[in-house]
């Protein structure tokens, strides 16, 4: 396709040159003037008509080829104007633009090939299915179901995670209907309220060991902040982490990863910063935990 285009372009350029030549010829003749020295008026007129016909032919040819051309950069036809920018240092811009357009087209095409094989490996649940079955499965996109998990399913998963993580103890309440509220406590360090929608984490509130998770009317208090600076900072990190681990297609793993990360706060007061090696910085211990390896850092020491 691209080669055709190039050929057509070259052809069009040739015709343009021919048209220019024939037009120049006509005007040259006109400019020189017709001097009827031998009374051969008819011959002169014939010659003039011939050159006009040549112009006409060339023009038709050019129009034909020109119709077969289409603008190269469909997305930004205005970029064509770059090529007619009179500033000399901008002249190469257009050709460079065309080059990069081609290049990105190619990259897009290659990426299209690559996504197939990669997608098979990216699935966390590896299966032995190959060929057409997998193809069919891939095409039929499963809609996210994390938010629609049943209460029994959520209960089971939470119980299992509770057993799996020795440092965390969890309990479920459902003050707002079917959505579960997890009360997570981490030793004698801190506790948190995690509001779930199905299995998806919607809200996290972190408080100190001595602070009450219930408001005065006996309901779980989702909204009020901790009295202590350090837990407010942990709260901010935890909210950011829920977004980091968010995965509606695999909400169970998301919840598990979040809790695993949250577990690292059992050393909130005792772990030194991984960068500066100190505990204390401006009134706080290291309150940030790396999302991948859970290393502790001060706010200002984050990698």
């Amino acid at each position: 396709m691209a080669d055709n285009q190039t050929d057509a372009l070259i052809e069009a350029i040739n015709f343009t040159q021919m048209l220019r030549a024939s037009v120049t010829k006509v005007f040259d003749n006109l400019a020189d003037g017709f001097q009827d020295s031998q009374g051969n008026e008819k011959a002169l007129l014939n010659e003039f008509q011939k050159s006009l016909l040549a112009v006409n032919n060339d023009f038709n040819e050019l129009e034909r080829v020109g119709n077969g051309l289409y603008p190269l950069s469909v997305n930004s036809p205005n970029s064509v104007h770059l090529s007619i920018d009179p500033a000399t240092d901008k002249t190469p811009l257009y050709s460079q633009l065309i080059q990069s357009y081609k290049w990105s087209n190619k990259a897009h095409e290659l990426a299209g090939y690559v996504i197939g094989p990669l997608d098979q490996n990216a699935k966390l649940k590896r299966s032995m299915l190959i060929g057409s079955t997998l193809q069919a499965k891939k095409l039929r996109r499963v809609p996210p179901s994390g938010h629609a998990a049943t209460t029994v399913y959520v209960d089971n998963i939470v119980t299992r995670l509770d057993q799996k993580m020795p440092d965390i103890s969890m309990s479920i309440t459902r003050p707002l209907g079917s959505s579960a509220i997890l009360q997570v406590s981490l030793g004698k360090i801190l506790k948190a309220v995690v509001a779930l929608r199905g299995l998806i984490i919607e809200w996290v509130t972190v408080k100190g060991y001595q602070e009450d998770l219930y408001s005065e009317d006996g309901k779980v208090d989702l909204w009020s902040q901790s009295r202590y600076q350090v837990f407010r900072k942990v709260n901010d990190s935890a909210t950011a982490a829920t977004l980091h681990f968010y995965s509606p297609h695999n909400a169970e793993l998301a919840l598990q990863s979040f809790l695993h990360w949250f577990q690292s706060y059992k050393t909130l007061f005792s772990a030194p910063c991984s960068k500066c090696g100190k505990h204390y910085h401006q009134g706080s211990p290291p309150t940030w935990r790396d999302l991948r390896n859970t290393d502790p850092y001060h706010d200002v020491c984050k990698p």
Partner: protein, 217 residues
Amino acid sequence: MGVVCVYPYPVPEEKSGQQVVDTIQKQLELLGAHKSGNFFVDCESYQSNLQTATQQRLLHLFHNSEQPATCFSVLDNGMCLVSDLLFEVLILKLAEKKSGKDSYYQQRKGFKVESKGQRYELGDFIIKVGSVIVASNFRGILIEVEYSPCVIPSECWNLMKEFIQSFMGNIAENPPAHIKSKMDTVYTPEDTIQQYLEHFNNFRKATSASVPATPNR
């Protein structure tokens, strides 16, 4: 209420107590601490007066401005009763003479100890720079540092140590003796009182050892 460490701060011969207090306060303000009012911890002592008992027992009655509705009563064997302020009225009743009979308890005169001064906050840390006054004479300086979010001393000791050393130097190389024995248990306001009792007793001993008041008042 978090973990509290109380340390005595030495007052050099050539300086007055007020000068040292000013220096510490200036240093705290440079670290970014801001003033948050005044504080006091005081202690009065009563002596048991029972004829049948073979030896006299002491009862120390504490108030701490951090727990304004509470009074702490500590026996000389370390037993501590945490009660409502009204309990004090009961003690006062017991210290009254009634129709010729001796009272059960007798207040020790000139034994009142008090530490009071400025309270500072820095992040979740609460710092109190207290001047210790025994029988209305200045006797020394006690610095109290509290890390309020944590209740287990062993968890936050290293953090507190770094912070305390940043303005007090090497005085805080080890946790206070009282805490050392219970690093892994939940800290309570009672533990603060026990620390003050120990320091107050030391100041009282120093006072009775050098009867003429020290010149650096």
